[in-house]
């Protein structure tokens, strides 16, 4: 899948439909990502976890959102037409609570022309059953084997860092036919209420993201990239072009921006521009461009 550049958003960290209500069509003119990854959809609609859902942690955030979404048919009916208006390819993230559910999601999403790729969320730590598939190589292999024949579209497996050996899970995904892996999802975390001393988050525990997890993410991307041949999409606390360049040096073919977009909605653009400058200076002026960033056209 050719992209205009290497910077995506992490699933669940940017709602392009809500952002368009806030920023208007300027969002489309200055869209900050080279592909848009949807928030994870499930077969049935979900309300998500009770609030509070957020806790600011040193250089990061713990979230306990719980995958609120309109469900498969609600997504296709009301969200997909709006996401199709975005100026970049669409990746739809799906999560099933069983292999049957996952198969239904992939089959239905896979038949839509608006969708370029499908990401299998086997790693969200916020929903109890979400951990199961992505934490175990055999489970992940079964999920990919079941869904791989159902669509022609590339499948990305989103890896959880809360696994003993993410590289084994990645290798299993590759062997089962996945085209790419993306990592990391959030790390499990918790905060206590300052006064009551019981868990602050409505969901009990949550997922840690932001610069606090960047060193962990970089190590996992480095290790996974050496265990598989397929494309690796790296993410975890990326705030600058230098951070993005680190992930690419570690073996990522593309990177994703997540929590930094909460601080600046246009962070993806800034990071891509900084990365393009770094890539150009590291290539030198005599070499032909080798990085997708070199082909990037920005308005």
């Amino acid at each position: 899948m050719p992209l205009r550049g290497p910077v995506l958003n992490g699933s669940g960290t940017f709602d392009a439909i809500a952002a368009r209500r806030t920023f208007g069509d300027e969002l489309l003119e200055r869209f900050p990502f080279d592909a848009f990854v949807s928030k994870t959809i499930t077969l049935a609609p979900r309300q998500g976890n009770p609030p509070p859902r957020l806790w600011e942690t040193p250089a990061g955030l713990i979230n306990s959102i719980g995958l609120p979404n309109k469900g498969l048919e609600g997504f296709i009916e009301s969200d997909l037409p709006k996401l199709a208006e975005l100026p970049v390819p669409l990746v739809v993230s799906v999560m099933g609570f069983s292999h049957d559910e996952l198969a239904q999601l992939v089959a239905r999403v896979g038949e839509r022309d608006e969708v370029a790729m499908i990401e299998l969320n086997v790693s969200c730590p916020n929903v109890e059953t979400g951990l199961v598939m992505g934490a175990d190589p055999a489970e992940t292999a079964r999920a990919v084997e079941r869904t791989r024949p159902l669509t022609e579209k590339p499948l990305i497996v989103k890896l959880t860092p809360n696994a003993s050996e993410p590289q084994a899970v990645a290798a299993a995904a590759e062997a089962a036919g996945a085209e790419a892996v993306s990592l990391i999802n959030t790390l499990k975390g918790m905060a206590l209420h300052p006064r009551t001393r019981s868990p602050w988050l409505g969901g009990g525990s949550g997922g840690v993201s932001g610069p606090a997890v960047r060193a962990i993410a970089l190590e996992q991307v480095y290790t996974v990239a050496r265990a598989v041949e397929i494309a690796v999409i790296g993410m975890g606390g990326i705030q600058t072009g230098r951070h993005a360049a680190d992930f690419i040096e570690a073996g990522a073919a593309a990177v994703a921006v997540g929590t930094e977009s909460f601080r600046d909605p246009a962070a993806g653009t800034r990071i891509a521009d900084e990365l393009a400058v770094i890539s150009a200076s590291e290539r030198g002026i005599s070499e032909a461009p080798t990085s997708p960033a070199g082909t990037r056209a920005r308005t």
Partner: protein
């Protein structure tokens, strides 16, 4: 009632930081932003320098504030120093950089019928101030504060206001909701606009529900992004959870079972 925001955050300059009793007003020169945000809309604020280098590396995420007034090309944000974010913002000095994203969310809608009756509690006077500026003398304004030191913010209002404090050190010794009850006794057809701490908003909601009075509440919840990305700022309504940042912060009181929401920062 929504004015669109320019995409992305932008660097504004602090023009002045005004001390008003227990509160501070940060006045920012926002040359790149729209001049006509709607009262009730808000901005995400972060200091350009030393934002993320304090105790525990906090603050790190931007903080949400309703603007309180736009005046002479400057936009005011009233705040109380209660945590790492508000502390850093309160110590800003003229010339300092201030990151702004906004205006965000939906503001107050004009009354469909009846006279506007505005109720502000504590730091929640922010959107009430610009809304009273816009509505002019037709709007009655009721304000409640903890003490005379906090109530100095009442002097920002240009028209008549009725004041109450918890300790009686300024105005009447009462909760502002007692003033509201008396006003609604006199004018049961008013449309109420309120902003303040959750217990106050809940008292306003319950009173208006009991009287069949239309009310719009400007609510607060802990936010990471302010533009619908993180799904963190939800409040429960009769139609499920809604994100305060894109479907609020102004919410029709009739949509709520309760305005006592959890999770407004830590």
């Amino acid at each position: 009632m929504r004015t669109l925001a320019p995409f992305g955050r932008r660097l504004a300059r602090v023009a002045a930081v005004e001390r008003i009793g227990e509160y501070s007003i940060v006045w920012a020169e926002d040359a790149q932003g729209p001049a006509d945000p709607r009262p009730g809309q808000f901005y995400m604020l972060a200091a350009e320098a030393r934002w993320g280098a304090g105790l525990d590396e906090r603050p790190w995420l931007p903080r949400a504030f309703s603007f309180c007034r736009v005046e002479a090309g400057r936009m005011g944000f009233i705040l109380e120093d209660v945590g790492p974010g508000t502390h850093r913002l309160a110590e800003l000095a003229p010339g300092d950089g201030l990151w702004l994203t906004g205006p965000l969310g939906v503001g107050f809608a004009p009354p469909a019928a009846g006279a506007p009756l505005l109720v502000g509690g504590g730091i929640g006077v922010a959107p009430i101030l610009c809304w009273s500026d816009e509505l002019g003398p037709q709007a009655r304004v009721l304000l409640g504060f903890r003490s005379a030191g906090h109530a100095e913010a009442a002097s920002l209002f240009r028209g008549q206001i009725t004041l109450a404090t918890d300790d009686g050190s300024a105005g009447r010794r009462a909760y502002v909701t007692e003033l509201l009850r008396e006003e609604l006794d006199a004018d049961p057809a008013a449309t109420v606009y309120a902003c303040g701490p959750p217990p106050m908003l809940e008292a306003v909601r319950a009173l208006c529900a009991e009287r069949g009075v239309t009310a719009q509440l400007a609510m607060e919840s802990g936010m990471a992004c302010g533009f619908g990305a993180c799904f963190g700022c939800v409040v429960p309504t009769r139609n499920g959870y809604v994100r305060l940042c894109v479907d609020g912060p102004v919410v029709d009181a009739g949509e709520l079972e309760t305005a006592l929401v959890t999770g407004s920062g830590h």
